[in-house]
Symmetry: C2
Subunit: 388 residues, 2 copies
């Protein structure tokens, strides 16, 4: 019947379905528990006709020409260069912190002096982690490092991960850069663009193939059984001997035998306003004020002309598997203990010859969209490209 | 695994899935060959953010309170009273033809005289078939009947069914009414409204149940086999002993054993315009001019405020099963021969105890949306309401 069953209709699942159907003439079934395809990249029009991203703003950017060309088979693009502001001391300034942010926030004399020092030490156009700044024996540069750390990072990170600021490791946030530049863009990748008709349309085009079936609103556990001892698979109560590609939570596939992997979740509060525009740029971060981390205004992405505008506030929250308003695992939580668990799962997975784990949840890794497309294309080449 | 498999995610399939899951706690699988739920009632936002009806304009209207209450569980409504104009002799006048149309098209003296005669003979507010007008021994009323027949009906009907005007039976079109009224509305039903968030959202809400799975992009013939001799059913190569509800083409289910039933298809040509508004009302019919039958402007339905507007022209065309641009069966073609075929199919279907045929295609009947919801609710009560 089906040669391959894929769990998850996000980029990991969709790329592999498309490749297997078009390149290997396989019959593929994609199963997702959501009511729609696209995974976290799903976008749709809200009731006011504004194209929103239901699981948070997704901005495509890549330096990988192969990925860009591959996706270009399924969509036209609209050029889009993402900019993010942070609300600091009552002003909105570009982040990552750059020379423009410096001049907006600090008094002229200090800003001028810091700018000269930064360019002199590191060169123009360079990204320097604040950890590096701190290492230099210079009071002003240390001040700058502390200022950025305090004003832009520590409280944002604390909100994001639900920790106290004092429990944030300075090591980790020390990696955040100062961009010695007047380039206000959030990314510097060569290919930055938005699918002209939205992300969901890309997925529709990828999956629109006579050999691909899509089963929605279906938790894989309800139709599929894996016997962890024998490796035997059952689909709808019959033995299944084809390939099984899994892009869901790795611990869920293996019945949490090594314990649950923790995640961080988000609550998205959407609001439609009757004004034409709410804020200057797509995303404004609120590191220090309010309980949300950021506000995104979607019209900047879709470039739509509509009388009103839709925004979303993001409230980080704990992930709870059995609580419908908290059960979406947005971000893996990385700790040494979790890393060990994950390694056990990945080693355990090796023994199942016909099972492939790929994706943000299945590999418990933070992949951007281009990363996961590249990863899925790689997995296809490595495991499925040649017959037999 | 699944208690019931339903083919088709239009109203017939969705109502039965919802009832079986919520009232009988069944596990239900709904299969559709399209990429989306909603059948012909599917709406979606086009790339300009205008909510369009992909398979032609759908206006909900009913006198059936039970149907209206049932659907109100799944949606809020926006009041909407449909009006249609016909482009006649260079003017746009209300249809069904009424006293306003009369005064717009005919010279004052004649219109005044006809109005008096109509009210006098039939009373105000009455709908009179033009066949009735012809029967009366009055030159002016006969003229009116012929005028309406020629200007409004015969060419429209000819386009619609791909016939020559002279081959249209005057009998059939004689049933079209004159509405002796100044009520310009197309329908007079008590409940006329549009789902506040569109039709597709209604289907999402109906099917959003933990016991309902939806399999899209899947022709039932690829996953389901019915042995016409033994009545045995196979789903994904295993025997299936549950209930099978079919809302697709009846002749397709029975391998065209009594011949194919003919249908009429449509080509929809969508166009987005940069102007705010294209025409005065939702739909304008073109009985005599051009090759399309009508133009619909969707913003009148969605009441959206957007800088541009999207319209669709409908070109009737032959139905061809193997031609992807002509393979949607929009309207059954009723002839005596087809009626006999259909009866043979329906009689044949009787023998399959676990198979239920319901819907516009499966019963080869023209059902409006409220009719099919009523029909599906009835089928549920009659066949599935009590534990079996
Ligand atoms: C808030 C946020 C913002 C982001 N912004 C960006 C951005 O700006 N740019 C960028 O490049 N990337 C961004 N990303 C990353 C992007 O979302 C991922 O790269 C991408 O979604 C990964 O694809 P995937 O297929 O691995 O996972 P997913 O998209 O998560 O798909 C996995 C699918 O598996 C399904 N599934 C899970 N469990 C089951 C089950 N039990 N049964 C059936 N189905 C199941 C899920 O429903 C889901 O549809 C962002 C991510 C988040 C969370
Ligand atoms: C142009 C047009 C305009 C209309 N306007 C109105 C209106 O204004 N008001 C009103 O009340 N009604 C209107 N209707 C009628 C309305 O569309 C129907 O009442 C309604 O769609 C009937 O629902 P259904 O479930 O029987 O059929 P459908 O909505 O046609 O659903 C049947 C489903 O079965 C699926 N299917 C078929 N074959 C297979 C297969 N082999 N494998 C898998 N799936 C299959 C199809 O893809 C489809 O999704 C209109 C109809 C048309 C054609």
């Amino acid at each position: 019947m089906f040669d391959t069953i894929i769990i998850g209709a996000g980029f990991a699942g969709a790329v592999l379905a498309e490749r297997l159907a078009t390149q290997r003439q396989q019959r593929v079934l994609v199963i997702d528990k959501r009511q729609h395809i696209g995974g976290n990249c799903y976008d749709c029009f809200d009731q006011h006709g504004v194209l929103i991203h239901q699981y948070g703003p997704h901005l495509f950017h890549t330096d990988n020409k192969q990925v860009f060309d591959y996706l270009s088979q399924f969509t036209e693009w609209r050029p889009y260069q993402h900019e993010v502001l942070a609300f600091i001391d009552g002003q909105k300034v570009p982040v990552p912190f750059n020379l423009n942010s410096l001049h907006s926030l600090l008094p002229k004399s200090l800003a001028d002096s810091l700018e000269l020092k930064l360019i002199d030490r590191f060169g123009y156009g360079v990204k320097v982690p604040i950890l590096e700044l701190r290492k230099i024996n210079d009071k002003e540069l240390k001040f700058l490092a502390d200022f950025i750390y305090e004003k832009i990072f520590v409280n944002y990170t604390a909100k994001q991960w639900g920790k106290k600021p004092e429990d944030i490791s300075a090591e980790v946030t020390g990696r955040v850069p100062v961009h010695i530049s007047r380039d206000n863009r959030y990314f510097q990748d060569k290919y930055q663009a938005i699918p002209a008709q939205g992300y969901t349309k890309v997925f529709q085009n990828m999956l629109d193939h006579p050999h691909i079936s899509v089963m929605l609103n279906t938790d894989f556990k309800d139709v599929f059984k894996l016997d962890l001892e024998t490796g035997r698979m059952q689909f709808m109560q019959s033995e299944f001997t084809g390939q099984f590609i899994f892009t869901g939570l790795i611990d869920e596939l293996f019945a949490s035998r090594f314990g649950e992997l923790p995640y961080r979740s988000l609550a998205f509060k959407f609001e439609h306003l009757s004004s034409q525009q709410f804020q200057e740029k797509t995303t404004v971060n609120y590191p220090n004020d309010y309980d949300f981390t950021r506000i995104t205004e979607f019209k900047h992405i879709s470039q739509q002309v509509t009388p009103g505008t839709t925004i979303v506030r993001e409230f980080p929250q704990d992930f709870e598997r059995d609580n419908p308003s908290r059960n979406i695992p947005y971000y893996p939580v990385f700790t040494d203990e979790n890393k060990q668990k994950l390694d056990r799962y990945l080693a355990f997975a090796e023994q199942f010859e016909n099972i492939t784990l790929v994706g943000r949840l299945a590999e418990n890794r933070y992949y951007d969209m281009d990363d996961i497309v590249a990863r899925a294309l790689h997995v296809f080449d490595a495991r499925f490209a040649s017959p037999g």
